[in-house]
Symmetry: C2
Subunit: 121 residues, 2 copies
């Protein structure tokens, strides 16, 4: 039988564009997405859902209006629904995102960093 | 501010019992759970939900009625809802599970390996 095992390293090797999450799996109505990020994203929130960040390589800062979260490889954080956040990575950082299918990366903020949200790899 | 960063290594250091998932985070109505497993689990399924397995250390076999899935560190698999499966690990293996809050580890099968499903660490 085909074994649809998802190997993170293999999946990360399939793309290089930044701030453009790629879907690797679906669980019920949730998507698992990989992204490579570097530099500064924009302030945004997701009014309808929590959002999970897991760092698989590098370091990620998630700025919040009242502080910041520092994540390194092997760490995760749940951004609560409706909480404004601005991801930032000094050097390229690889992350796993988990959120409902259809969640847009820029939330309600929009703008030029808004990525397609239905790209599977 | 308190930074509720979840570090997988730190969380795994907090328990040693096998086949007894510990909740580390909640995203909407889903739980993220860590478990240490070794040996053979039981055949069971979850009629209401898919279930995600991510291996963070070691190797895990998920037996299916029509084959088996072999997972190593950095790999994930989504067991579809209603699909019977039997996890197995030759040596101790550490995993991250993602599934709806309230999901019981033995599904509808029950039995002595049924763990409490509301233990947070």
């Amino acid at each position: 039988m085909t074994t649809p095992v998802i190997n993170f390293t293999d999946k990360f090797a399939q793309f290089s564009d930044l701030w453009s999450p790629k879907i690797i799996a679906q669980m019920n109505d949730y998507h698992f997405k990989l992204a490579k990020v570097k530099g500064e994203f924009i302030w945004h929130d997701h009014p309808e859902t929590d959002e999970v960040f897991i760092v698989t390589q590098g370091q990620l800062t998630i700025h919040l209006r009242d502080g910041k979260i520092e994540l390194k490889e092997g760490e995760m954080y749940v951004v609560p629904r409706g909480v404004e956040h601005k991801p930032y990575a000094d050097k390229e950082c690889w992350i796993l995102l988990i959120e409902p299918a259809g969640t847009v990366n820029t939330g309600d903020a929009g703008g030029e960093l808004t990525a397609e949200n239905d790209v599977w790899i």
